[in-house]
Assembly symmetry: C2
Homo-oligomer: 538 residues x 2
């Protein structure tokens, strides 16, 4: 079988996936195990991190030099040829890249990746500067974080510009490299989730200590405690990120962005790995899509209704902060609960309305989006389910142990999970709809509602981001330990679900009502007059 | 002359402008004078505010019902006609609106207006809720802020959707209403600037009191002072916005947004007022532009270089916050100073490079943009000049009085003002360039640099926003009073300059390299093959 090309490529695929699996598992164990978290093991742990990042960066460098931009190497080869060092340049010349594959196709997702990736780089960059800040850290930390910045930045550029590359040869290095990046991204994701939950844990402990101290003596101890936490003289080798302690609640935003970036990046690398073009030389070279076109008719009502929701929720975020400062956390929770209820209700109604209005459209088997959209959507849905179920579970637990819990939790979570389910079904369904007949093409049935849903989802994305930064509504303050870990894994995914469903809705908004499919379908020559109109419109 | 239509319209214009002038002056005097700011005058002052807003809201309601969406009224008239109450319906029927005028044409400016306007509404909305929060306020405040929300929201919708309306008849109500909105916007602008400067003043006084107290006794007094400031039991009738005290430094962001919104709105209302179509019935009815097209070729290098700058500046913002917390304000200032220097230097070099690369393009007398772009750009330029000059002036003052000032101030401000001047000249010049010949159309000379400048300006916009929230670099902490007022007027304009130059750059980016003008210019029938290609591309 060693001479069968298909068998070879299957073997490479299998080996590389096993490699990724083992690497991910090893990395997970290293993250979680108490042995590696101990203070003495800082050097092996850092070396492990540096190795992970180095291999990934080396792989991307290879990819850029040899696959994506082969001109540099080709010029060198020609130079060497002219000098007489190489006899047969044709053997060495690298081919031009082909952009046929599937990748992060949608503009929205790519812009989101840019945003998340640059925020992630900011986190690592701050960390580098903080290494020199107080009690100088060992040089290996600087190297580690610098590699992390480079890795994030390269991956960002790769996803934004070149994710549609299709790897031509049965390329061993490419396959293993992609799987390595998947592993690194998953490892980053887990380690950040662990860091987040450990921070929450530390904060809560301090809060309780403070409250106990208050009950006993006066506020004397308060200052020392909070001082210890915020002004901690870092041990030179503790694993904690210094930026998190220094930046306070803003760092939570950065962490959420980084989690989302690594999630997207892992899925995209996986998809590129999976997509092996059987005969890449023969398929026609598609041009990179360069220009974008938006048809904004029939949207302004949707936008302005959405903005009202946005204003309300932003006001609520502000009031929540104010109420928390004035020690009225009960009222703050109630306020957030009612707003949640209102927003989920409105979005749910909008989903039903959209279903109703879009009943006249035609069904097509292929969706607009790509595989990645569906995968990410399902991941988000799973996160939402876990989140809501945990919330209801904790409410029941609170009732049993006779704690003070507000009744608004249950309807809010039930409505939330209903809304998420209906919306996911709607997105999966609507992305397979097309607008084929002339009558519906002019009236755009459902476009206003989709615009409204889009704005609402962006708004919920911002709202959930703030929610995870401050406090999670519906969850008691003193969480059990295992719930706390679960929550800090689920809550970035909840944020991500909103981001991604807005991305999918944007795709639906753009493609369902476009004329492109229509003209491709009917295949009858459009008469010259209409063509002229179109040309003039250009 | 009473029968001459032109004389009539001139008379109306003159009267309405005089009305706006008087109203603005009266409002300014009321804002500034100590009589009206006293505690006893709260009721007349509030009534004045309510009246201002009521008239503006009434005007916009009129505009929407009678001019923009006349269908509602027309349906009522037909209904009355069928019932027999009206004899001659044709006399009463309102015409359809015509969208020929100049207004906020560019997409970028409109989206910006949406953002600023919704942030402004958030401020007023929070204020409404806070009226019920502690020590219930008089009902008139609720009315006042509710009207402010409605006014902001209506104006936002008007600017976004309908700013290209041309008012048909020599419409007395429309003219006076527009001038009234101009006055209201200017008044909002001034009052917010005054509020900002008074807050800064109050903060500084507290800081100094705290520092003095620290020198004398221990931190005992600190808590009481800051408590007084943050937890102030509001007098029921003080003019201060409660939201500002409650929201802390976030409110500064909201205030900046509101200032920018009222500036844009005032200019747009003024332009609509000025633009009187002489014979509106005859000019062909332009369609509302509905679809947008972006040609994104040749941009990714620019974007990614810009993102590096963005990451650096965001890291610096984070580090600035950390250093300020650790009481190292000197180091924080130095860091910000060097970053300013770096960013202005890079942007300046990019401007020169763009000038150099665009030398091959063709000049055309008409700019892409509209009058409003140039006006707003010049306003921003004036703000930057005032800001930089004040900065240098205060540095010299500091040298004379032997205070500790860092030398980095002077090169930073000199570079800043050079950069701003060069960039303004470049924008005004480049918006009159076109890409006419085929060779340049393919190579897009200068597009990468323009993209880079665009990203840099957005980045500086964010950076300056944070700068005005926290502290102004280069300015001593204990400002003289008159400088403080000047600064709080100039610093939102500085932010606005960056926003608006990015808007202009986006226009240049979009239009300079588009094919539209080209095809309109040569006016030769494109052959069928090319047409087919274009149709297929659609």
């Amino acid at each position: 079988w060693t001479k069968n090309a298909k068998a070879k490529s299957f073997c490479i695929n299998m080996l590389s996936s096993v490699y990724a699996l083992i690497l991910t598992m090893v990395a997970f164990v290293i993250e979680i195990s108490p042995t590696w978290r101990s203070e003495e093991m800082w050097l092996p742990y850092s070396i492990f991190c540096v190795l992970m990042y180095t291999v990934a960066v080396a792989y991307f460098t290879y990819l850029y030099l040899f696959v994506l931009y082969p001109n540099v190497i080709n010029t060198c080869i020609y130079f060497l040829f002219r000098k007489g060092y190489i006899m047969n340049p044709c053997k060495w010349i690298l081919d031009e890249p082909v952009y046929n594959g599937e990748g992060a196709g949608t503009m929205y997702l790519r812009v989101g990746t840019l945003f998340f990736g640059s925020m992630g780089s900011v986190l690592w960059g701050t960390e580098i500067l903080l290494c020199f800040f107080e009690s100088q850290r060992h040089g290996i930390y600087v190297v580690k974080y610098a590699l992390a910045v480079i890795f994030t930045y390269m991956q960002m550029h790769f996803i934004f510009s070149n994710s549609k590359i299709s790897l031509k040869r049965t390329n061993i290095i490419a396959k293993f490299g992609l799987m390595h990046s998947v592993a690194v991204n998953l490892w980053t994701w887990l380690s950040i989730c662990l860091i987040k939950s450990s921070i929450k844990h530390a904060k809560k402990e301090i809060k309780y200590a403070v409250e106990e101290a208050k009950n006993k003596t006066r506020t004397e101890t308060y200052t020392t405690w909070s001082y210890d936490f915020t002004m901690d003289d870092f041990g030179p080798h503790d694993k904690q990120l210094r930026a998190i302690i220094k930046l306070g609640s803003n760092s939570n935003l950065l962490l959420t962005c980084l989690v989302e970036f690594s999630l997207i990046a892992a899925v995209i690398c996986f998809i590129i790995w999976k997509n092996d073009d059987p005969n890449p030389g023969e398929s026609p070279k598609k041009e990179k899509k360069r220009s974008f076109r938006f048809d904004c008719s029939g949207t302004s009502t949707g936008i302005f209704l959405g903005i009202i929701i946005h204003i309300i929720s932003t006001v609520v975020i502000g009031m929540h902060g104010i109420l928390m400062k004035s020690q009225k956390s009960m009222a703050a929770d109630l306020l957030v609960g009612f707003t949640d209820l209102l927003m989920f209700l409105v979005t749910l109604l909008a989903c039903f309305l959209a279903f109703f209005q879009m009943r006249k459209l035609q069904y097509r088997i292929h969706s607009h989006g790509e595989v990645i959209d569906d995968i990410l959507l399902i991941v988000g849905l799973a996160g939402e389910c876990v989140y809501s179920c945990a919330g209801m579970d904790l409410y029941l637990n609170g009732r049993l142990t006779k704690q003070r819990v507000s009744w608004i939790t249950i309807p809010s979570f039930v409505l939330r999970i209903t809304e998420v389910l209906i919306q996911t079904v709607f997105i999966l369904f609507a992305s397979r709809m097309r607008c084929y007949n002339y009558a519906t093409r002019e009236s755009h049935p459902g476009k206003q509602v989709i615009t409204f849903l889009l704005v609402c989802n962006i708004n919920l994305f911002i709202y959930h981001t703030f929610e995870t930064m401050e406090s999670n509504f519906g969850f008691p303050v003193n969480l059990p330990d295992n719930y706390s870990v679960m929550l800090s894994i689920a809550s970035p995914i909840v944020v991500f679900y909103r981001f991604h469903s807005s991305a999918c809705l944007a795709e639906i908004w753009k493609h369902t009502y476009s004329r492109k499919h229509h003209e491709h379908l009917i295949h009858e020559p459009v008469d010259l007059a209409e063509k002229n109109v179109i040309v003039d419109k250009l």
